[in-house]
Structures are given as structure tokens and as C-alpha cells.
């Protein structure tokens, strides 16, 4: 049971960490809490599902690219101008929730079914210490870890990553040395939404996606990010894995409904005891 619970928890945490990374990237760089990220990700998941019968690779690529464009455009057209006018966290909460309503409405209006499952290939099973696990789930976990490592590497060793860091640490100075901060914000938002889309595709393959999944995934992504220390990528990853474990182990002892109650109660407790999350926030709120 211990090994089973650990592996399931790691996988759940791994998938969860993708929208969490999305939240962390967007918040860490732009300083804007985007509550629509989950709904935008699920919108991409629905696009992938719709195009899936034609070509799997193209479907995934189109879904992820669509989310990148949505993230880029909404940041460029809506969120950055509001931020420049002095918008605060409360205003962004309202704006991004409203944006979430719009994309939830688009999913409802455009796609023929409100509840879908994405049939990604399962790739057989892997046996380990007498326990077998679907290779596909390991791919999902591996993808999450690889994404985290890639983001970290690109932050440290590429020009773009350095301009991200500069923008996140000192916006005025970044502007002064000629960094196109508006473009950096838009790209960060696009990447965050694209990551949420990949998370939604994995989620839709393991479970299913419906109209409320975007909110569930987005809110969950957000609270996991807050627990890890919002804007802190490593904190978000650790927090996602811990919460995945909590979800996995509580599933053995409690019914599904109590599972969510315990999870949220733990998260609230963490916020009360350590208001800045496990590893602390990289931005001051």
C-alpha cells in the first residue's frame, strides 16, 4: 500500500505541478495572479480532444499553441495595461475570474460535448518491486520534472531567461536597460497557459475534463502554488508532490468527498502557520 500510494501520489502531484508551474511562472514574472489559467488550459484540452481523431501530435500542438496565444494576447491586451494603470491583486482577481467565465462560456458554446476524455496512448506497464504502473503515468511525471528543470536552466543560462529574472526582480531597472518588459510579460503568460494546457491534457487522459475542471485545476494550481510560496517554482513543485501524496493516501482511508475537505483544511492550516508558504514567496504581496 505504501509504495502504491507513493507512486500514485507522485504522479498526481506531477500532473498537478504543471498548472502550478504555470501559475508560478506567470506570477513570478508578471506579479499578476491569473485565476483563469485552469479554464484556459482546459479550453486547450478541449481543442486537443476535438482534433484528436485527425492527428494526435497535431491536436496536442494546436491545443498548446492556442493556449500560448490566448495567454500572450490576454496579457498584452488586457492585464499588462491594467497593471500599468496601477491595478492591484483584487482587481486582477476579478478580471481573471471574469476571463475564466468567458472561456468556460466558449467551451460550452463551441464544443459538442461538455464532458470529455482524451485517449492518449497508454504505452503499456512498467514493473517495479512487484508493483506495476502505467508507463503513461510515468511519462506524465517525467514531463513535469523535465519542464521544471528546463525552466530553471533557461532562467539561468539563456538571454531570455535572464531578462525574465531581471523583469521579475526590478521592473524599472529592467526597462531602463532596454528589456522589452511588456513582451516578457506576454511570453511568460503564454508559457504559463501552455503549461496549464499540458496539465489539462494529462488530466483529461487520466480522469476527464468538464466545464468545472478548469476551475478545479486552476484553483488547485493556485493553492498549491500558494502553499509552496507563490512565484517560487521549486516550492510549487514540492508542494504539488506533497499534496499529490496527501490526496493519494487520504484516498485509502476516506471517501472522495472527505478527501477534498481534508486537503483544503491542510492547505488553510499551512497558510495560517506559514503564510508565505513552504519555501516562501519570491515576490512580496
Amino acid at each position: 500500500m505504501l509504495l502504491n500510494g507513493t507512486i500514485t501520489g507522485l504522479i498526481m502531484g506531477g500532473i498537478l505541478s504543471l498548472p502550478v508551474l504555470g501559475v508560478a511562472v506567470i506570477y513570478g514574472i508578471t506579479g499578476i495572479p491569473n485565476f483563469a489559467i485552469g479554464v484556459i488550459g482546459v479550453f486547450g484540452g478541449f481543442i486537443t480532444w476535438y482534433l484528436f481523431p485527425y492527428n494526435m501530435g497535431l491536436a496536442i500542438l494546436t491545443g498548446v499553441a492556442a493556449c500560448f496565444v490566448v495567454g500572450y494576447v490576454t496579457q498584452r491586451v488586457l492585464l499588462t495595461p491594467i497593471s500599468e494603470m496601477g491595478g492591484d491583486s483584487t482587481l486582477f482577481f476579478i478580471i481573471t475570474v471574469s476571463l475564466g467565465f468567458v472561456f468556460e462560456g466558449i467551451i460550452r458554446a463551441v464544443f459538442p460535448r461538455p464532458n470529455i476524455s482524451i485517449a492518449l496512448p497508454r504505452l503499456g506497464t512498467v514493473r517495479f518491486a512487484g508493483y506495476s504502473v502505467e508507463a503513461f503515468k510515468l511519462v506524465a511525471l517525467g514531463f513535469a520534472i523535465l519542464t521544471l528543470v528546463l525552466i530553471r536552466i533557461s532562467e539561468e543560462y539563456t538571454e531570455g531567461g535572464k531578462s525574465w529574472q531581471a523583469t521579475s526582480q526590478n521592473l524599472k531597472l529592467a526597462k531602463l536597460v532596454g528589456i522589452g518588459t511588456t513582451r516578457v510579460f506576454s511570453i511568460a503568460s503564454g508559457i504559463g497557459c501552455a503549461l496549464a494546457c499540458v496539465g489539462a491534457i494529462f488530466w483529461g487522459s487520466l480522469y476527464n475534463l468538464d466545464l468545472s475542471s478548469g476551475w478545479d485545476l486552476g484553483f488547485m494550481g493556485f493553492i498549491v502554488a500558494v502553499v509552496g510560496g507563490i512565484g517560487n517554482i521549486w516550492g510549487g513543485m514540492i508542494s504539488a508532490l506533497v499534496i499529490g501524496m496527501v490526496m493519494s493516501f487520504s484516498g485509502y482511508f476516506l471517501s472522495g468527498m472527505w478527501q477534498s475537505v481534508i486537503l483544503y483544511a491542510i492547505v488553510i492550516l499551512v497558510l495560517i502557520v506559514a503564510p508565505k508558504g513552504i519555501l516562501g514567496s519570491e515576490r512580496s504581496l
Partner: protein, 308 residues
Amino acid sequence: MRDRFERVLILLILLAPLLFSLRGGYLQQVSGYVYLFLVQGYVAWFLFFKSGQPFFGYSVTMAIGAYGTIVPALMAERYLPLFMLASAVAASAVGVIIFLATSRARGFYVSMASFLLAILFPKLIEALQDTTGGRSGLYFSGLSGPLGLRNLYLLVILFTVAVVAFFFWIMNTRTGRILTLISENERLAQAVGIDTFWYKIAAYAIAGFISGLGGALYVNYTGFVSSVDIEVFSTVYIFFIPLIGGSRVRYGPILGALFVILVPELLVPVERYMRIFFGLIFILVIVLLPEGLAPSIQKLLARARRKP
């Protein structure tokens, strides 16, 4: 003079739907909902916008009032008023506990803790479905039994007017002025020797109590409550009321409540696209009218008056 005129105008606007009680039916029912959400909207106006407390658990305090009334009343209906009062006290206590528990944190984290509670609470109601009815909900006749629907509607209006009058009154008292100072510059308030801690507790206690009592009245008016009614979006809608209407103006939440409740009603013919329009309208109002509807209407009227 202008202030008194504004107060009388607000009172008249609030009392105007009394006319609906003559006809009953759909308009009476919908306007009753507007009033019940207006109460919650004024709670958000008072606590968030006027006292500067970053609280997002309005659906929780409202739900405590609703469930704290209906669950015991199904066992002993004759003590209904007592249960309503007790549930309001419980909601007030929960508000204070949330404040105390998050007092070490700063703004955004307090918002997140109370917002998470708003996500958690419906799940707790579903987990306790044997007692609370979960998503299927609980039904009872409540006050509509002894009072009748029309009198209950009148009670809802009177309660709303009393709540609005109370908030206007308290904001004019010393306590209200100190709360405004805390929201604008807490350090300054502390520097001049004000113990802001107790004033903030008072704000949470008052807001929790009124929100809880509003929830108790809500469940009596609807005769039903389920976990779906208190989902996290209720808190979002409640918060939208003063924000959309205009938090700087006293009658802003009235316009906000009309907007938040009536816009979905008007969009029923295009139900499939409702969320798209709803979200877009909110974004447009916030972007184009950042101070809310009421101040913008005020400016338009002033401009129209100036023209010969």
C-alpha cells in the same frame, strides 16, 4: 443637504419594489433575491471596501446562517427565530476566528485563506450530506409558513433597509471613521494611538453577524439550500456587487446587486452564451468604468446638467 437627499433617494429606491408585493409572482420573487444578495453586497462593501479587510468568505458566513437555521429547524421548527439568531452569532464567530487565525499574514494571504474556506465549505456540506442534504439540499417551509410569502417578502425588504441604514450609520460614527482610517493607512492609525486590532475584530464580528442573519433569511425565503447555492462563485458574485456598482458611493451596491442578479436573468434567452456575455460585461465594466457604475452615472448626470 445633498447628503440627506442621497439618503432619502436610497431609501426610496430600496422601498420601491414594495409595489411588486401587490402583484406577487416573478417580479416579487426575483426582487427578493436582489435584496438578499444586496445584504451580502453591503457586508462586502463594509468589510472589504470601507474597513479594508481582505476577506473573501462571504458565501461561508452566509451559508453558516442558512445551514445553522435549516438543519436544527427541521428537528424543532418552533425554535426557528432562536436558530436564526444563533446561526448569525456562529457566522460572526467564524468571521472573527478567520481574522484571528490569519492575523499574522498580510492582505493577499488573508484573502487566499478566506477564499479557500469558500471553496472548502461546499465540499464539507457535501461530505456531511446525511445531515445537510449535500447537493440534493434540504427543504423546509420556514417563516413562509406562519408569515405567508408576501409578508416574508416585506420582512426581507425591511431587513435590507435596516442593514443598509445600520451600515450608513456606523460609517458615520467614531468606529466607522477609525475603520476608514485603518483601510487607508493602518500605520497612521496605530501611530496616533488607536488599537487597530480590536476595531478589526469588531468589523469582522459585525460583518459575520449580518451576513449570517442574511443567510438565515435567505433560506427562509427560498425554502431550500444545497451545496450548489453556496459554491465559491457565490462569494465572487457577492464581491462583484459593490465593485461593479461602485464602492466609493453609498448606493453603489444597489446598482451592483441589480446588475449581478438581473444581467443573468436578461441573458436567459441566450443561455448557451450566458457565461461569455457575463464575463465580457464584467471585464468591460471594470476596464471602462473603473470606479463602478454609480460614480460613472453620477458624472454623466452632472455633465448633462451642465449643458444648456
